[in-house]
Amino acid sequence: MPIPSLCGATAAMLKVVGAILVLCAGALIGLHMSHQYASRPRQIRQLIQALQRLETEISYGATPLAEAFHSIARQAAGPVAVLLGAAAEELQSESADTRGALERSAERCWGRTALRPAEREIWLHLGSILGVSDRDDQIRHLRLAMSQLKSEEDAAQEDQRRYASMWRSLGLLGGALVAILLY
């Protein structure tokens, strides 16, 4: 709808500003997506490292699970540390079983990570096997989870190589396209 009270020059100005905003939004969406692609393999790697430390805590230290999670959370960084810390907290609260604790930690913190449903499945599966058997068995299960994560990491790296730069340019170009169409 035309805005009758504005003169031509002001209208043109607004149009340019709008176009720049659309362009920026497109570029930001692209950057965010590409960042997600770049973060996912890194976070999977951090999760694998955390599980490696958990294996040590269980096999050599025989540390109770809640304490073990606290200590691996302290050594991790970023969103993965938040996830591990949340799990430790849930494990320490009374009347929470391991599976429930890991489920709730995922509900609380999964959104902050760049991790996908495949990793979430592995995480939730850990909830039903951690702490329910002897050390040898725990180590076998942890190794299995780590190898599953490793293959996810490989896939994630492949995705990153393919899509990360694509999303960066796609965002900017998409923004430009929308701006031109609206102009």
Partner: protein, 331 residues
């Protein structure tokens, strides 16, 4: 006191147990959870099933049947999410949880070289509620000292299971280690007490620290075989009194005699219904012949009336008996 146990129960069972009448909860002695078999409780020596609507019943058909999920959560909670930290305990078939309660476990045993390496598929739990009854031994202790002095007599306490003998020796340890338990005359001295707690029942130690009050001058050797533990106590801790639960093996007798040679007084318990049960056991016969113990106390309790102690002297003659009125639980 029930709080840590209630928190460890899976939601459904927790609700059922918590809804039992308060008198039952006060006297609860055991909760037995068996996968797909009726949930059972024991209080005041009575066994009852717990029905699906939270009442007590003798009818198997109306009882709540714990599910596989219930058992999974229960084991998870009892072991603090960490079965792998309790491998040694699982081999022995029981664990001690917060509050000093003991939980017996059954499942499938995994063998290695003919001995149990692991217990898995755990599906039966016997949660034994440990009760600390402060003062349980107050009436008995004055009869266990040598006349005219405060020296503790070597005492053997004889009782069938679930008659509160562990509660009794726990309180004996507390009183002897605290001192000043006598009502008249100069206060009794506080002795150094060593408890060899092979099954973590007397002190209910978690990570080596007693859950129950066992007295200020008491050392607890937790989870250690009795005979070896007594020798360790004698060598390292110089106790005045050593307390052990459930003696029965020949090496226990050797360790007790070794303790006596060092001038240490011993209070021990043994399974048995009557004094005669004990007299007929080869290992005990030797101890009795050598007059190792100067007091034998036979425990009995009658619900609703009280607790009866029969005290025999070193030759096996009934010397004294003591009736403590009460509901039979808190002596």
């Amino acid at each position: 006191m029930l709080e840590p146990i209630l928190n460890a129960l899976p939601p459904m069972i927790r609700e059922l147990i918590a809804s039992l009448p308060q008198q039952v909860l006060d006297d609860l002695e055991e909760i037995r959870v068996r996968e797909k078999r009726p949930l059972e409780v024991m209080y005041r020596g009575v066994y009852r099933y717990v029905s699906v609507d939270g009442g007590l019943t003798e009818d198997v058909l109306s009882a709540y049947l714990p599910t596989r999920e219930d058992c999974r959560i229960l084991l998870d909670m009892l072991t603090n999410h960490s079965v792998y930290t309790l491998e040694e305990e699982l081999k022995r078939g029981y664990i001690t949880v917060r509050g000093g309660h003991r939980v017996g476990l059954c499942g499938k045993a995994i063998l290695e070289d003919g001995s149990v390496r692991q217990l898995r598929d755990i599906n039966s739990f016997n949660i034994r509620i440990a009760r600390e009854v402060i003062g349980a031994a107050a009436e008995l202790l004055p009869r266990l000292v040598e006349p005219g002095s405060f020296r503790i007599s070597n005492t053997l306490i004889i009782s069938p299971p679930q008659q509160g003998k562990t509660t009794l020796i726990r309180d004996l340890a507390r009183l002897i280690s605290t001192g000043g338990w006598n009502r008249e005359g100069p206060p009794a001295p506080a002795y150094k007490v060593g408890i060899v707690d092979e099954r973590s029942e007397i002190a209910g130690a978690i990570k080596g620290v007693p859950s129950f009050s066992v007295g200020p001058r008491t050392d607890v050797l937790d989870g250690c075989p009795k005979a070896e533990g007594m020798m360790m106590m004698i060598r390292g801790m110089s106790p005045d009194v050593v307390i052990v639960d459930e003696i029965g093996r020949p090496e226990d007798a050797v360790a007790i005699q070794e303790a006596l040679r060092c001038g240490i007084r011993v209070i021990a318990t043994a399974h048995g219904r009557h004094f005669e049960d004990i007299r007929n056991r080869p290992m005990m016969r030797g101890l009795i012949r050598h007059a190792v113990f100067s007091r034998y106390v036979v425990l009995g309790r009658t619900y609703g009336i009280g607790r009866v102690y029969r005290i025999y002297d070193e030759s096996g003659k009934l010397a004294d008996s003591l009736i403590v009125r009460g509901d039979g639980r808190d002596a």
